[in-house]
Symmetry: C5
Subunit: 99 residues, 5 copies
Amino acid sequence: MLLGRVVGTLVATRKEPSLGGLKFLVLKQLDIEGQETGGYRVAADAVGAGLGEVVLYATGSAARQTKLTDRRPCDAVIMAIVDTVEVDGVVKYEKAEAD
Amino acid sequence: MLLGRVVGTLVATRKEPSLGGLKFLVLKQLDIEGQETGGYRVAADAVGAGLGEVVLYATGSAARQTKLTDRRPCDAVIMAIVDTVEVDGVVKYEKAEAD
Amino acid sequence: MLLGRVVGTLVATRKEPSLGGLKFLVLKQLDIEGQETGGYRVAADAVGAGLGEVVLYATGSAARQTKLTDRRPCDAVIMAIVDTVEVDGVVKYEKAEAD
Amino acid sequence: MLLGRVVGTLVATRKEPSLGGLKFLVLKQLDIEGQETGGYRVAADAVGAGLGEVVLYATGSAARQTKLTDRRPCDAVIMAIVDTVEVDGVVKYEKAEAD
Amino acid sequence: MLLGRVVGTLVATRKEPSLGGLKFLVLKQLDIEGQETGGYRVAADAVGAGLGEVVLYATGSAARQTKLTDRRPCDAVIMAIVDTVEVDGVVKYEKAEAD
């Protein structure tokens, strides 16, 4: 899994029928320091993530291992909202309490 | 999923028999700002996408999760035509009404 | 799927038993303009491709969705021989009639 | 599989329900000389790896082939703790006895 | 599939139980000219490859399509030992007879 920050939304009315009801969020990929890498991903949201939140997302067939995405043509899913990331003994990211 | 713009078509008469009837479109990959990255992908079309449209495509085993591509040797599928992409509160792409 | 040109062959007598009978071809990857990218792939041939031909190949689990490759440890398959590729209204590649 | 060093932990209370009980570790990717590549991965831990240990991790659908990760939206798993890596006749890494 | 040269071994006593008996080899990735690319992969050995041999390896779910690796958390497998690679009419690699 990789880290991403939810930065936007994508609307698509004409789509594969099985995708109805899925919410697509735009993620900017983050490196281990929490900095943007320049990459992005559009992912289905399985956890109710909000704009600005740092999330963990899975790609490939793993993205279909949720009730929302099972058997759907979806190759990326947000499967967790990150509370804290600690690397080499230093807290690199901590979710704000007010979120 | 990633964003792409439909830029062309590919014709192949000699192909794996199960692929009969599938339409292959050529996509230029787009970054989050809607700019071309230099990459491309040939994808099966599951939604009736047209030349010039911005689409969302899935790769890997997800590409077989449509009726058209089920059990076929296909690793990329267009599964949605994009209406709008909004990033950091700014509309980065909006489909023209006349499309 | 990506485009490749068949440039060679690979012979391996000692291999996983289930691979007996599969023909492995060496592909140089092509970009959307038909230029070589510097990358390559060794792929199983499901369509009888010949040296010099431009082909479409699928990777990952899609490579096992042919009778020849089903349940075999194969991650790339040539699934179509390309006749024409048209991009932005320009024919980028056209198979020679004599082929 | 690739080599990584366990450098940290990730806590996520809001996540896909099936992920309850899984421990997520942060890995820095290592090259064949044991040097960091700049890349990272968040992986589920199937072997009880500790901070600082060099591990082997698998990605993609392979990451679900453990009891802990079966049918879960997880695309990377630590499946072995490395004792020694020998390349070109030279021991590139050896786990300290006291570990 | 890609080409690699077997350059070393990896020992791991603490690992996912299903991996018992699998031999892990360290591969340096080769380009189409037989030169090292700087990349590597740790792969399960399904064919009894030896140090110095040039092999073909498959990644992703294809790596589990052998008796040795079936249902194991393994994402790369050596599935053939290469005898010859011929590109553009030139033999780029030929296994020594004494091997």
